[in-house]
């Protein structure tokens, strides 16, 4: 394996981005791998606008921090990324904590904008590197943002997929369930079942997640690392072995 797991994930996310027409993506601060995926799509030549939310210089918003939410409310954000301390089989997200409300066992930082963005973005890619029964649970302890909504509730988009360190799930809002789309090298349907707390569908043969090409790796390690260095110095140092100039 001539690539790092983070590089596989970035390339995999990039393919999911390109699978659907996408004009504008917003990316949060804590998401270096999704950010790398977005830059990959841009550097591969797709005319995608990226709004990097916590970029210090060139912050895209001039109306203050509400602008991201207004922009998304207007329907101008085609794709957002979300994670969760817990994610369940209905694609419900828990960023609150485990145990009773408001996280009596383990308190997570909180829901941020998830209870709005998950409804109002054109679609969401769920991303969580840790793939364990602790994170991928049958039912989340507390719902920060629901995976599907009842009739009468305005909802522009849903989860497109859930990408983890072990596999890619596709989400089907009509049936409110995930199906296994591909497994990363070294994983099997059974190994995924063993590590997943929720039930999911397996429709036919499940392929292996396509590894990065040399061209993709070259892009990631050069121009994409350049773009990311200011916002994600630790990530660039760890994954691309690149230090920021002092």
């Amino acid at each position: 394996m001539n690539y790092r797991p983070e590089e596989l994930l970035a390339v995999t996310l990039a393919k999911l981005i390109r699978a659907v027409p996408t004009a504008h993506i917003a990316v949060g601060a804590a998401s270096p791998i999704p950010a790398a995926a977005c830059w990959l799509v841009v550097k591969q030549g797709d005319p995608v606008r990226l709004s990097l939310l916590h970029k210090r210089s060139g912050n895209p918003f001039t109306e203050g921090t509400r602008e991201l939410f207004d922009l998304t409310g207007q329907g101008r954000i085609d794709l957002f990324f979300l994670g969760g301390g817990e994610i369940d089989g209905q694609a419900n997200l828990n960023l609150i904590g485990t145990g009773g409300w408001p996280g009596r066992e383990v308190r997570f930082p909180g829901s941020f904008g998830s209870a709005f963005m998950y409804f109002m973005a054109g679609r969401t890619i769920l991303f969580r590197e840790e793939h364990s029964p602790r994170v991928l649970v049958k039912q989340v302890a507390n719902i920060s943002a629901p995976g599907i909504s009842e009739a009468g509730v305005f909802r522009r988009g849903h989860a497109q997929a859930l990408v983890t360190g072990r596999c890619v799930f596709a989400f089907h809002p009509d049936r409110g369930r995930f199906s296994l789309a591909s497994v990363h090298p070294g994983e099997t349907v059974q190994s995924i079942r063993d590590m997943t707390g929720f039930d999911f569908d397996v429709d036919g043969d499940v392929p292996e997640t396509t590894p990065p090409t040399d061209a993709e790796l070259a892009l990631l390690r050069s121009t994409i690392c350049d773009e990311m260095l200011e916002t994600y110095p630790d990530f660039c140092a760890r994954v691309f072995n690149r230090k920021q100039a002092a």
Binding site: T62, P109, S114, A115, F116, F119, I143, S144, A145
Partner: protein, 273 residues
Amino acid sequence: MTPISLEAMAASVPDGALLALPPDNSLPSVALAKALIRRGARNLRLLGVPVSGFATDILIGAGCVASVQTSAVSLGEAGFAPRFTAALKAGKITIQDATCPAIHTMLQASEKGVPFMPLRGLIGSDILANRPDWRVVESPFGTGEKIVLLPALNPDVAAFHGVMADSHGNIYVGRRRECATLAHASKRALVTVERVIEANFLEDERMAPGTINATYISAFAIAARGARPAALLDEYGFDADYVATYARAAKTDAGFADWCAEHVFESQAVAAE
């Protein structure tokens, strides 16, 4: 309008006040938070606009806080906020969870002088289930849409750190317009600044768009590097080492007490640097 001292500003925030604070990416007045610790403020009800960061965690650690309304409490790259987490677990504070645009919306309702404002999303979230002060209604426009109405939120005090004040008390915050909304929505706005400039920013087309009119500002104080460890536009960057050091120290009560003694109490000059 002339500056007051930082300690006088802290003294003007009464115990029990609903105090709105922007997070680390949005011009927090860490200087005022430290001054509130020094004055021994108690029972503050903090509002994260729309999330909470370093200033909130040190105020909680110092025992100044009774409750927090916010969309998240985090030290960013440095991880979970240790004093918040410990105080919540110990039952010393309560938390009222929200989601970022809900807090913006509740402040915008106050800004517009309306009693409530609608927001999409939220329905099906346990955040809503735990907010008896929020309402779900069916749109009166006959669409059948169910939507949440959020009540106007009118903080007693808004506190943030601007770049500079002019001779008239107008405050420059650049593109951080959330500070303007916050000032508009609050009963009082207390602002620390790096410096005062002999000028009228409202008469300067290049400065005016990033300025908050003095009409919304109750008082300002000079506090050099007053946002630190947070960044201040292009004036100074985020001090990740300072926050990481804090996050390690504040894992324990004793570690926080030591940190606080050194960084809050030891010397105001040092603290403000």
